[in-house]
Every structure is written in C-alpha cells, then in structure tokens.
C-alpha cells in the first residue's frame, strides 16, 4: 500500500488534513465568575485549541501539604483526600477554566489555575481552612484570676530554662531580662512584681474600653510576643482547664492606641461548621457592611438551639480558623437554624470568598504552601512573542541553508519541514498536551534538528551518486542505508525525552512532550514524506541523469 505514489499522497494528505483540523480555531466555553455581580456565567471564546502552560498564559501553581504544626493529623492520607475534595469544590465555585487539582505522591496536592488575575485571592481561598465554630465567652474572669499563676510559671521557665521547653526558652529569658532591666532588684530576689503577662494583658476597663465578658486587650505591638508566650507548654499547663484563649481576627482602635483583643472562651464549642449546609454573602441592612448568613442542618440546629437557649444573656464568639470574627454578640433569644457572621471592615468580595469556602466545607487540617509559582499574563505573552520570533528567524536560516546547499532537494526538505511543524503542532493539539515555554524552545531547537534525517538521506544519496550509480538506484539506496542511523538516533532521543517527562514538573514536561512529538514527526516526514516527494520527482522526470541535490 506504500508502494504507489497515489496511496502515499493520499496518506500524507490525510495526515495534513488531520493536523489542520486539529488546529482549527474552535469554540471553547469558559466558565467564570462575573467580577461585578459575582454570578457564574459561561462565555464562549474562539481560539486555537493549543493548551498553553501556566508560564505562557499566566497563572498560578501551588504545591500544598498538610500543615501539622498546630494540629496533628490522625490519618494523613485520609485527610489529604478530604482536603482534595474540599479544594475541588472551592475552585469549582471560584470559577476557573480548566483547573488542575490533583494528588502528587502521597503527601502533596498540586493546584494549577491558569489565567488567574488575582493570585493572592485565589491562594487565600485555597489555603483557608474555613473551620467555623461558635463558643460562649467566659464570664468568671478566670483568666484574670489565673494570670499570677501564669506569670509564676513563666518566671520558673525563665529562671530554670532546663525545666521548661528547650525549644523556646531564649524568648522567655529575653523578655524576662527586658523586664529585669526596669525592676532588677525584684526579679533578682525571685519575687514577682507586675509579672510578664499581667503587664501585657489588660482588662478592658483599664484602657477605657467597655469589654464584653472574657474580653482582654493587648497592644498590637505586643501581640506577637504574647501569642508566642501563650503557646509555651508551661503556660498552657497552668491555664484553667475549661478555658481556651483565642485572638480577634483584626486589630481594634481604642483612642490613639491599636489593640488586639484576646478572648477567653469555653473549651467546648456549641456547634461547628461541619453542620453547615449553606452560606451566603449579603449586605447588612442596618450597617450596610458585608455579612455572611448561614444555615445549619438538623443536628446542627438542635445543638445550636440548645446551646444558645441555655446561654441567653451571655456572649457568643464566632470563630473562623481559630480567630474571633467581630465582637461577640449577646445572645438575646434561642437561635437554631440560621445565623450570620458580621465582617466589620471587610469588603464584600471577602464576604463572598468566605461564604464560598464555608459552603465547600472546612479543610480537615490546615494546608501549607511548599511550592508556589505564579506568572503574570503579560510576561507569558511576551514569552510567546519572543519564542515565535526565534522560531521564525531560525526557520528562515534553516531554509536558506537547506536550499542553498541542496538546491531542488533542499526545497523538498523545506516542504517536509513545513509539514513537520504542522504535524508537531497538530499532534500537540490532538494529544491535548500543554505547550510551555521550554516546549516552545524545544520546537525551535527541533526545527534545526528535524532536518537531520533529511541531511542523512541526502548525503547518502550523494555518496551513492558519487559511486556512479544511477539516479533512481542512488535514491533507493540512500533511503535504505540512512534508515538504521535514523532509527537508532531517534529512539535514543525519544528515550531521553521520556525520562525528562518522567522527572520533570510542568514546564519541563512540556519540553519532553514537544521533543518526543518532534522526533516522531521528523522521522515520519523524512522517511515517508520526503521519499514520496522524490518518487513524484522521478516520475515527472523519468530520464533524469543528474540530481539537483
């Protein structure tokens, strides 16, 4: 079937048509969220079906792992799968065209979002744990009563670092020494005066602020310090058992000073986000600030009803990822199914993102970003332009060399080269492979290398002609003898390309794919297409005694 020129031409024509069809611009539906209304909508764009990598069209790549620094996972692989499901839901709602969310190895999740315009926001949505809970604030002033004990515990840890946690005593010692510079005598004798925490944590009344029960003030500047002190094991063990301490999500201004509110809360949550069935962003008619309203399932509603019913007149803190959202409101009546979270000082978009993550559910364990790449769209376009320029200039040089050296046969090789480029791009499109910047470079490089097979054949034909063989025989022999060299060298090229694919991440994988496709396409064009050209040439000029090669 490969013997007659007719059937060969038909096969080549079919391959060319196939490649062109694969490359015809077609309608693609893009699902995205309208920036102004926040409603999902489908838009149809006409474009060449070549998938561009993140480095060419702009976008974000995230490598995520479980962050077990604050909460240890009991079953990491199950938690990772759970997180994967949650992320899929969130990103689906966020509205990104063709997102890639997959597990890599057994401890990592890869998220690739192409064409993202606001990477910081997308990252926040992916990373937010969205763990929602409701807790009653403490009314018994337990923290105030415990403060002296906490200070003593700290001092003990500071004076005898060996007895405490070996990891962080330096911070404590430093702080204590900072303190001793003012009250040298007192500390030297081991008597507690003022105390570290008592001096940093104020009850509201001291600062001229009317606090709700269980609410304390810490100067914003001292916030990181106090936070690290409160995490020391000595302090944790000295805290009253039925209490947890949580920070407000944002600072509060009291007079000229910026404070961070610290809440002392009951250790048992009334209800958590696990029982949430719906969440929606809305505008509060009273304050016209953004709020998120939510709805609980039946179990959640029962728990919430019981909890709030028992605590009428008390204050309830709404916690998101262990931070208290807004000031705890007083419970005026029993609440069951519906509630709202007030987001003071936030934008409506933030409310929308919060509602989105709450709907998609909480991450079982917080995620940390171990690998983050983000490329702006304009940089990507720039890369494409440069790659195409290099490709065009490179092709022109190759064409000049080939025609200048091999004359008519060179023209045939250039046709074969054009078909080769078409095959490679068509192959990329039909395999749904991703074209990356290194991939683009690979195509440019392979334009130079693709003529290799043709050169091998042409040189062989020239040698046979030099031996005095007829044109027809020389062509036959040339193709036959070049075959082994072409196959062996190309197989090795493909082996290296496949290994590159195996080891590479995104961009390098793209390179490997274009390299493999390019090598295959160059083999086909050189062995089959160029051969056919020669057959046609011979048929047109059967009595040719010299060959323009």
């Amino acid at each position: 079937m490969f013997d007659s020129i007719r059937s060969r031409v038909i096969i080549i024509a079919l391959l060319i048509i196939g490649s062109i069809v694969a490359l015809i611009p077609r309608n693609t539906t893009i699902r995205e969220r309208d920036v102004n209304t926040g409603v999902m909508r489908d838009t149809t764009v006409r474009r060449v079906p070549l998938k561009l990598g993140l480095d060419l069209q702009g976008g974000m790549h995230l490598g995520l792992e479980l962050d077990q620094s604050s909460r240890v996972s009991a079953d990491p692989s199950r938690d990772l799968d759970l997180a994967l499901t949650v992320l899929r839901k969130r990103i689906d709602e966020f509205g990104v065209t063709e997102p890639l969310i997959q597990k890599q190895g057994d401890d990592r999740i890869i998220v690739e979002l192409a064409g993202i315009t606001d990477p910081a926001r997308a990252k926040a949505i992916v990373q937010r744990s969205a763990f929602l809970e409701f807790r009653i604030t403490d009314r018994s002033e337990a923290l105030e009563k415990a403060l002296p004990a906490l200070d003593r515990a700290l001092l003990r840890a500071g004076v005898k670092p060996a007895a405490g946690a070996p990891t962080q005593p330096s911070a404590v010692t430093q702080l204590l020494q900072g303190d001793t510079s003012k009250k040298t005598a007192a500390t030297d004798t081991g008597v507690v005066v003022g105390g570290v925490l008592s001096s940093l944590i104020q009850s509201g009344a001291q600062a001229g602020y009317s606090p709700v029960p269980g609410e304390y003030l810490v100067k914003e500047t001292a916030f990181p310090r106090v936070d690290s002190l409160l995490h020391l094991p000595e302090v944790l063990s000295a805290l009253p058992r039925n209490l947890v301490l949580r920070w407000a999500s944002s600072p509060t201004s009291v007079g000229a000073e910026s404070y961070r509110l610290l809440y002392s809360l009951e250790d048992r949550a009334i209800v958590t986000g696990q029982n949430l069935v719906d969440a929606k962003e809305e505008i509060d008619p009273l304050t016209s600030g953004p709020i998120v309203t939510f709805e609980l399932d039946r179990t959640g509603a029962r728990k919430f009803g019981d909890g709030t019913g028992r605590n009428i007149g008390n204050y309830m803190a709404i916690l998101l990822d262990d931070r208290v959202q807004g000031r705890p409101p007083v419970i005026q009546s029993r609440i069951d199914r519906r509630g709202q979270i007030t987001l003071t000082g936030r934008t409506f978009q933030e409310a929308r993102d919060l509602a989105l993550t709450l709907r998609a559910g909480a991450l079982p364990i917080p995620l940390k970003v171990v690998d983050y790449r983000q490329v702006g769209a304009s940089l990507g376009q720039d890369s494409i332009r440069k790659g195409i320029t290099a490709g065009v200039v490179g092709s022109i040089i190759v064409i000049l060399i080939m025609i200048g050296y091999y004359r008519v046969a060179g023209i045939l090789a250039v046709f074969a080269l054009a078909i080769y480029i078409l095959f490679t791009l068509g192959g990329l499109a039909s395999l749904d492979a991703t074209l990356t910047l290194p991939g683009l470079a690979g195509i440019v490089v392979s334009i130079g290398l693709a003529v290799d097979a043709n050169v091998l054949i042409f040189e062989r034909i020239r040698e046979e002609l030099a031996l005095g063989k007829t044109v027809r025989l020389a062509i036959d022999e040339g193709f036959k003898r070049a075959w082994n060299a072409i196959v062996d060298s190309n197989v090795c090229a493909i082996v290296t390309a496949l290994l590159l694919y195996q080891f590479g991440t995104g961009p390098v994988k793209g390179f490997a794919v274009t390299l493999t496709l390019g090598t295959l396409a160059s083999m086909v064009t050189a062995i089959f297409v160029t051969r056919t050209f020669f057959m046609i040439w011979l048929e047109r000029r059967p009595n040719m005694t010299t060959l323009s090669i």
Binding site: D371, L379, K386, G387, A390, R407, P438, V444, V495, L499
Partner: protein, 323 residues
C-alpha cells in the same frame, strides 16, 4: 553540486592524544572550579523565593537590599533581568528560618520590602516562585535519577542494536559531554534551573545521536567494506559522515543562536547550554568515542567475525603500542 568536507582523509584516530590533552585542558581546571565554586542552583533546587518585577521607577538596588534585610530576608540577590526596568529578586532560604517549608513568609516579606523601597503600585510582579527546601531536594534527586536512568536505558538499547563495546564507548563519550557541559555551566556561572537541566539532558541526547550516526557507519563498513583494520574503519567512517555532521549541526547551531538572541531571558541559558552541547557533542563523537571503542576492542576483542581480522592483521598489532 555544492559539497563541503567531502572525501576528506583526516586522521581522527591519529590525533586522539591531542584530543585527550584538549579534554584535560578543559576538565582539570574546570573540575577544580566546579569543586571550589560549585553550581549556582536556582531556587527551584535550593528552596527560596524569586520575584520578577517590572518597575515604573528607577530601582535603587542598595535601598532595596537594605529594605530586604530589614524585612528579614538577608543576602538576597538583586539582578537586572533583560530590560532596564526589569529586576529579579532571589532570596535563598537561610538555615535559621523557622518552618522552612512554609513559603508564605518569605514571599510576603519580599513584597513588603518592594512596597517600602519602590512604593506600592509603582511596580508590577511578572512572576513569583517560592519553593520549600523539601520540594527542591526532591527535584535534585529526580534530575540526577533521570540522567542516570537515561544512561542505563541507552546502554541497554545500544547493546542490543550494536554490541556492548559500542554502547560503552557511546556512554563514555556522552558522559564526557555531560560533565563538560556542567563545567561550562560552572565557568559561565549560569543558573542551574529546571530548564537548564532539561538542556543538559538534551545535550546528552544530542551527543549520543552524533556518536550513533558515526557508529552506525562503522557497523556498516565492518559488514560491507573490508578495510584493513579497525583504525582505518573508524577513520573512514568519521570522514564519510563529516558532511552530514557539518550540515546538521550548522542548522542546529543556527536555531540555537536565534533562540539565544530572540528567545528572551528565561530561555537564554537553555540556548547557551545547548549551543555548547553541540560543539562538545561533535568533538566527543569524532575524537573520544571512536578512540575509546578502539581501546576496548583491543583490550577485549570480540569473539566471532570481527575478532580474527583484528587480531590476525599485522597492522592492528603494530598500531597497538604506537596508537
């Protein structure tokens, strides 16, 4: 008919001593440099943060550096990147940084430093990369495995298609090129990014391709043309394939040069490495691989068809001590 390098009779094998000296001139100082200075790994391998910016205001490098120091990112590299207004800030991870796998902290610190030294909104971020040391370590491991696996797979393929002596000679010549390329990277102090590793693997393929073309001719000549000894066969084979070598690599060099000139800053190291790879590939295929094959054949002569000829021929014996 326009022809270059046709019917040449260069004694490639005869000058192999000079080739060895040439290799030594490149390798000995190169390896010493490599040991002293090491390779300039990109943050993809070491872990760290890279931020590429296009600034609308002139960038005061020392001011930006002190802002970075202030934000707790000491020792960051600040480099102009292609255009005047474009800069790249690279912050490698310091050993003391807590929770190194959490890349958020460095990224936001770099952002803060940029905001304070250039002014908020006075610059646009082209790309950001932040890699934890764990990911970087894995990548290094993978790159090394890929190169070693490539050697193994190709050795097996060549052993099947040719015989093990050819395979081993090709691998040695290719290893020569890979190492030579690594030295080239070290001499130019190019940044070893994933893309550059890709280029090194491509050099591996390229160099092998070149060797195979010559060995294919050797195989054919051993079967069909009875040259008096292996040395002649090798020399003839290299000379016969010379026109093809010149032409193919002429076109390849042309495209790599255009890539280096027009391809942009990210691709340039890739193109440079490939460019060098073509030269070392040609060199090793002509001077190293055939010479090694000659040595191996004399040391371990094949049993069968080729063996009697090479051992019986007096020329082969005489050549042994002289070379």
């Amino acid at each position: 008919m326009r022809r270059v390098f046709t019917n040449t009779k260069i004694d490639f094998i005869g000058v192999r001593r000079y080739a060895y000296i040439f290799t030594a001139i490149w390798f000995v100082p190169g390896l010493i440099l490599l040991l002293i200075r090491g390779l300039n790994y990109s943050i993809e391998f070491t872990g760290g943060t890279l931020v590429q910016i296009a600034s609308q205001v002139p960038v005061d490098v020392s001011k930006l550096r002190s802002a970075l120091d202030h934000e707790g990112v000491p020792g960051a590299e600040i480099q102009s990147f292609g255009a005047d207004s474009e800069y790249v800030v690279r912050a490698r991870l310091s050993k003391e940084a807590p929770d190194q796998d959490n890349t958020d902290a460095t990224v936001s610190a770099v952002r803060k430093a940029l905001d304070s030294s250039l002014g908020e909104g006075k610059y646009t971020i082209g790309r950001t990369e932040a890699v934890g040391p764990k990911v970087g370590g894995e990548l290094r491991q993978k790159a090394l495995t890929a190169i070693l696996l490539a050697f193994g797979a190709i050795l097996i393929y060549l052993a099947v298609r040719f015989e093990w002596r050819f395979g081993l000679s090709s691998i040695l010549a290719t290893a020569h090129d890979v190492l030579g390329t690594v030295i080239f990277i070290s001499v130019l102090h190019l940044e070893v990014s994933l893309v550059v590793v890709g280029a090194v693997l491509s050099v591996l393929g390229l160099s092998l391709n070149e060797t195979i073309i010559i060995f294919d001719r050797v195989r054919e000549n051993e079967r069909h043309r009875r040259y008096p000894d292996l040395r002649t066969t090798l020399n003839r084979s290299i000379n016969e394939t010379l026109p093809r070598t010149v032409l193919t690599h002429g076109t390849a060099l042309a495209t790599m040069m255009t890539l280096a000139i027009f391809g942009g800053e990210v691709i340039r190291p890739f193109a440079l490495v490939m460019f060098f790879g073509v030269f070392t590939g040609i060199f090793s295929s002509m001077f190293i691989a055939p010479a090694v094959l000659l040595y191996i054949r004399r040391r371990w002569p094949p049993v069968g068809a080729a063996a009697p000829r090479s051992t019986r021929a007096p020329a082969g014996r005489a050549a042994q001590p002289v070379g």
